[in-house]
């Protein structure tokens, strides 16, 4: 009886919670709860005790996560896959009405499978990272500022994801850039860290410029093409209006769609750290490690990928741009992996690794495998966040980022070590971990792709394969230097090595489980099990290529899987060889290929090139305009002040002579009257009497006369 009642209650609750109408009205909660947390912690945080700050920061994201989960089940509950979206419009932001029509933009949220997946990732992983931050940042003096910024970032990211039109997405896009700057330069009293924050923001801004120009071009072309009947920039409307781009006249011989796609790609390279705008990400490691885990592994850097997938209907009609995306992705993946081979700072290795994995995602969307790109985004969020949080745990214990000062940590930090190993196996692409599933799907899609340049698909596949090998190698190197062998940091530090507190290791364990089994949402076709993610995302994407829809290629896919597993394993073997079995080898190889090693270690000197090409001329321009400001503008102001001073002399004279003269003159009149009248008072009574008599006489004369 009690059981029946309980089931009844939970059924009704579930039905109510997952009722589409309720979720539609609650969509705003998902981004706005972290915003509320940010406002409270930001404004009042300094007076609140640390416990309350932590609670507000974490609870806001957790409730957001719960609402996202409710939304997820609601979406699943909608039978018709094409109808699987929920929108909520908050208010009309822009509205222009003229007699032929109108154009408007609303602040509206859209929950469809694509934004759902990202919402879950952002709020779920975000919550774990907030929990971790409670432990990592304990004892820091600006807790409230940290959690406020982190919540603000989550708000911006959720705004970006849930936005129903391009302009609102751009607001979130800029917001995450801002919060990235705030969080990277969190410890701004250190000049280097502050500069890293500035670098991130400025490079991001270059990308944002591309995004905005693309946005304007898109708007203008669609508006003209539709003869003024386009009513907004919502994604549904864009998708329907997109064929108009095909009929627009080409600019400089290149179609408008390609231009728009390429401009948006510039924005994406800025946000997602691809060539040529990736230079901010390694320096961004100056921020606290949970920030690196959240922003620069799981969320902000994935915004570029998300944007391209969101605009898949645009990219699909611009195959040249797609090819560029794929090439940029593939080359960046390889390039970043080569740099990661030589770095000694553990966070920098992971940063370049992130750039490399993002390259994989770009490669995937470039070959129209959109759901595969999202799949890798999700699995990467899991294992990269885990890697960063584990690195944070290590850094917390060793008080240093340099791997040269680590070693042998596996016996001091067993939980960290074990969870780190899971992420390591995932990123190296060892089946059946999640990383293998997604990376392999990308490689399969690239191999089968039909890019405009013949053979480009196979070439990119080979590049991706090589990169996978390099990934396995440098990750093995990282594991060996950090956890294996003996501790190299000195016996003093060795005494203080300890495992991190539970609030930090618990998120690690959750992420480890997700990294291990997360691949189950995207199983390859060979297994004859459904590819859940692919099916879920299907209605949102216009055309997509993922593994397995070609029935006859099962043996080919299996072969490729074996090849990539083999490459990964040999990468691991080589890493083990170089760093565990025969540790003298790295030194010898570096000595033999000294100039190559230096090139990689110095990151191909790209930072120095940018410095000379861009930074110095701009600083010179700044100095020039500073001089102009000092000489011309300040000179003009000083001149006007001198003229005013001279006029002031004139005015003073007038004030002295005329105004004072009038006042003094009045006083003078009274004085003279008084002086004159004084003589009446002689002090002699007889005179007074005389006046009296005279007066009486005159009065009587007057009375007799009149």
């Amino acid at each position: 009886m009690a059981l029946a009642l309980e089931t009844l209650i939970s059924c009704t609750a579930m039905n109510t919670l997952t009722d589409p109408e309720i979720i539609k009205r609650s969509l705003w909660l998902i981004p706005c709860l972290p915003l509320a947390g940010a406002v409270i912690n930001g404004l009042l945080g300094r007076r609140l005790p640390a416990r309350i700050i932590h609670f507000i920061g974490c609870a806001s994201i957790f409730i957001s996560f719960l609402v996202s989960v409710a939304g997820f089940f609601t979406l699943l509950g909608i039978e018709e896959p094409q109808q699987r979206f929920l929108t909520q419009s908050l208010y009309q932001w822009i509205l222009t009405v003229w007699h032929q029509g109108s154009f408007g933009l609303e602040v509206a949220f859209r929950l469809d499978p694509l934004s759902m997946v990202l919402c879950l990732v952002v709020t779920g992983v975000g919550f774990l990272i907030h929990l971790y931050s409670v432990g990592y940042m304990a004892g820091d003096e600006s807790q409230s500022r940290y959690f406020a910024y982190l919540n603000l970032f989550t708000f911006s990211m959720l705004l970006l994801i849930l936005a129903d039109n391009l302009l609102l997405m751009f607001v979130g896009w800029e917001g995450v850039g801002l919060c990235s700057y705030l969080l990277i330069g969190f410890w701004f009293t250190d000049l280097e860290k502050a500069q890293a924050g500035m670098k991130a923001f400025i490079v991001n801004r270059v990308g944002d410029f591309g995004f905005f120009v693309g946005l304007m071009l898109l708007f203008w072309t669609l508006f003209e093409g539709s003869n003024g009947t386009m009513t907004g920039l919502g994604f549904q409307q864009l998708r329907e209006a997109i064929p108009l781009l095909g009929t627009a006249s080409p600019i400089l011989g290149v179609g408008v769609a390609t231009w728009v796609a390429l401009l948006f790609l510039v924005g994406a390279t800025g946000k997602s750290a691809q060539i040529p705008l990736y230079v901010w990400l390694p320096d961004a490691m100056a921020g606290p490690t949970p920030v690196s885990a959240f922003i620069h592994a799981a969320t902000m850097v994935t915004a570029g990928v998300y944007m391209i997938v969101r605009l898949n209907f645009l990219y699909v009609i611009a195959p040249a741009a797609m090819a560029v995306v794929a090439v940029v992705g593939g080359v960046t993946a390889f390039y970043a992996a080569t740099i990661a081979l030589t770095q000694n700072d553990i966070k920098r290795v992971l940063a370049y690794s992130t750039i490399s994995q993002l390259g994989y995602m770009f490669l995937a969307v470039g070959v129209a495998a959109f759901s595969t790109g999202i799949f890798h985004l999700v699995t990467h969020a899991f294992f990269k966040a885990l890697l960063f949080l584990g690195a944070g745990s290590v850094i917390h214990a060793v008080h240093s980022n340099e791997m040269q000062e680590m070693g042998g940590l596996k016996k001091y930090m067993p939980h960290t070590y074990l969870t780190f190993m899971v992420a390591y196996l995932a990123i190296s692409g060892i089946p059946p971990f999640s990383g293998f599933m997604s990376k392999d799907e990308i490689l399969w899609a690239t191999f089968n792709s039909h890019l405009p340049v013949a053979g480009l698909g196979k070439a990119l596949w080979a590049l991706g394969l090589l990169t996978a090998g390099l990934t396995a190698f440098y990750m093995t190197r990282l594991i060996a230097l950090t956890f294996m062998g003996s501790f190299r940091g000195g016996s003093e530090k060795e005494k203080h090595l300890h495992e991190s507190p539970a609030v930090m290791t618990l998120p690690l364990m959750v992420l480890a489980v997700l990294s291990a089994v997360g691949g189950v949402i995207g199983l390859p076709a060979i297994t004859h099990l459904p590819n859940l993610l692919h099916d879920f995302l299907g209605p949102v994407l216009s055309s997509h290529v993922t593994s397995g829809h070609q029935a006859h290629a099962y043996w080919l896919e299996l072969l490729l899987m074996l090849i990539s597993t083999g490459v990964a394993t040999s990468g691991i073997y080589l890493g083990w060889l170089f760093y565990v079995k025969r540790p003298e080898l790295p030194g010898q190889v570096a000595a033999r290929f000294a100039s190559l090693h230096r090139l990689l270690f110095e990151k191909y000197y790209v930072d120095e090139v940018y410095q000379t090409l861009f930074v110095r001329p701009i600083l010179k321009l700044v100095a020039l305009s500073g001089r102009f400001d000092l000489n011309t503008i300040d000179g003009a102001v000083n001149l006007s002040s001198r003229v005013t001073t001279k006029f002031a002399f004139l005015i003073g004279w007038e004030d002295l002579k005329i105004v004072d003269g009038a006042v003094n003159g009045l006083a003078e009149i009274f004085k003279r009257w008084g002086a004159a009248l004084r003589h009446l008072q002689t002090g002699r009574v007889q005179h007074y009497l005389y006046s009296v008599v005279l007066g009486i006489f005159l009065l009587s004369v007057a009375m007799i006369m009149f």
Partner: protein, 107 residues
């Protein structure tokens, strides 16, 4: 000619004017007192004349003027006593009774 009211009034006004003149022009304080006496006497003569030559009415009798004159004489006597006292103290302070010297209140 038979004397009548106007002749008495002329005499009394002459007395009054002479007395006023004396008050206004004498330098000696006692001379001024004499002038005041002249004024008072002129006024008294006026009263007596009116008492002799006017018919009695509701408010006045035949002798009101003469009674008033008695009052005037009494008041004159009292007033002279006070005035002489003032002049004595003035003399003891200023060593003179020349009114030209009393200019302390001059503005």
């Amino acid at each position: 000619m038979p004397y009548s009211l106007p002749s008495f009034l002329v005499v009394s006004s002459l007395l009054f004017c002479l007395g006023m003149f004396t008050v206004l022009t004498r330098r000696n304080a006692i001379g001024i007192l004499m002038g005041i006496e002249l004024v008072l006497n002129g006024a008294a003569l006026n009263f007596v004349a009116f008492s002799r030559f006017l018919e009695p009415s509701q408010t006045t009798s035949l002798l009101s003027g003469q009674v008033f004159t008695l009052f005037i004489i009494a008041i004159a006597a009292a007033e002279v006593a006070v005035a002489l006292a003032i002049i004595l103290s003035l003399y003891s302070r200023m060593k003179t009774i020349d009114v030209e010297e009393f200019k302390q209140l001059q503005g």
